[in-house]
Amino acid sequence: MLKYFKSNESILFFLLIILCIFLSFYNPQFYSIQNINSILRSSSTVMIVAFGMTILLTSGEVDLSVGALMSFVTVIVMDVINISGSLFLGFLAVFIFCLMIGLINGLVRTMLNVNSLIATLAMMLILQGSVYIYSMAAIYNTHLLPFFTFIGQGFVFKIPMPVIIMLFILPFFIFLLNYTKYGRYFTAIGSNPSSSSLSGINNNKFKILGFVITSLLVGVAGIILASLMDTGQQGSAKGFELIVIAAVLLGGTSFKGGSGTVIGTILGILILKVIDNGIILMRIPQEFQLVVPGVILILAVYFDTLRKEKNV
């Protein structure tokens, strides 16, 4: 296992351990199963989307529309299941919709050649607006299917379902980025797009793939969120995109493309979530939930820069 920790990851790992030790001294409740579950459950939706975002950032792109899409997904999944009474149809609708949005993001990026920061910012506006065109009112759970509730709220062997879903997806991405050619391709495209294209790689195809994967993962996270809220809520997941991006960057993925690891991303998210949790545990004013991650982000990237400078 240790072999998979690049140096940046060990810094983050160290930071996480220190945070945990500190918090457990302060409040022994930190190590209660309930608290750990709470941290992991709230991390899991972020992680699921962050896997996709790691790929995107590695290939030099970004998706700001994930938060808006996620709230749209909660509305769609609840509505379709309410109407049809079928989980399958609800999920199908979500994934078709997400596939479409991912494709549009990718096509606007590659065919219209719009910078993805701008393209997905625009998509964010479009989704935020159109979710209200779809339905002005929040969609409440009237189907009352027990399995739907189980997805977000259930436990298996005392482990929350969202965590299990995340753990189910995780190996796939570790595998994808470390052991298959796709991982290399994403790195190459992010690091030097001309070179990767001249090596016979269809950059556009893989960029679109990155957007589609991210959107589909948002679909999964959105379904979990809908179950957790028991509602399809417009305007939910506000600022989600910033949390995901901040966590991925904290995890050592460069905004300029070319380097990124899933383990780093996971550590980044855990650090941010443990801080959030700690602030509530320690009953510190919740405003610090903004300040502390900001400082940590700058510091972590600074240490990473220092480390890279030493290596060159």
Partner: protein
Amino acid sequence: MKIFSWLMTVIVASTLSFSSFANPKKIGYIVNYGTHEWYQNVIFGLQSRADELGIDFEVMDANLDINKQTAMAEDFMTKAVDVLIMTPVNEEGVVPILRKAKADGTPVVLEGNPAKGMTTLFAICDYDAGYKAGDAVGRILVSRGETEARVMDVGLPLLSATVLRSLGFMEAIAKHVDAVKVHELDGSGMIDSSVEVASAALAADSNINVIYGINDGSALGGLQAWRAAGLPENDLIVAGTGAEGLAFLNEMTKENTPYLVEAAMFPEGVGYTGMNLAVDLFNGVDVPEHKVTPTLALTVHNYANYYSFDKAGQTRQINFENVANIPTETKCTKYASDL
């Protein structure tokens, strides 16, 4: 056809001009967060009354952008509305708008919270609404033989209104039993953030018997966090605020739900009252500085008096008459300035 409609207009216009008061022709409303369910229902109430009075009613949505709200006020003045109704994104932020409107001669009606330089305001009493819910919860606790209320307050410190609600709620409970605020949280008024912060708080200490939410999303978020933590619901009481939309009705009408109390604020009624106030202001009628709109603690037993709820069709219909008959304070017990 054209001549006919023209004739009608003339007739209607002349009858109106004969009546002692002329209705304003055009009223504009700047809503702070128009896509929110609560404001959707406020707009519904405003529109309902405007339609009854034949007033051209337009809405602009500042969408929580305090800068945009100022621009929209200017735009409405350009459109020459007869009265401007505003729900400020933030009440301090409208002081210059009020000054400009005065110079422009446009009467302004505020919704929500008072601001320096305003003429008139229609709003619920946040403190009193919270108080009514707290009172109802206190009674239930007493009837259950409990002596202590251990409260998780899923609040929103961002707005003074929501802080007042929490305050009223706690002070009312304290009248019945010992009241301890175990957790004071910021759920951003959104169900998803509320689930998240409440989960963390419950992990730290789940010895709670009352969850209070400053709106429906916060209350439901708290309840969902409770459920996701797998805690027993038998002794829990959940109270929400607002009666913003269908959320509380859906939950409250479930079997064995802990969601027992809703501090109803009747947004449709708020809008209806507000339109009347705007018309009065336009006509130079002496308007109160604060027109209080009704609030009431709703439970599964009494909600049907005010809302006919169609669970299958997911619609609710307000009974304007019954809401208007709710005994209402002339003045709130506490205001933002008392904080």
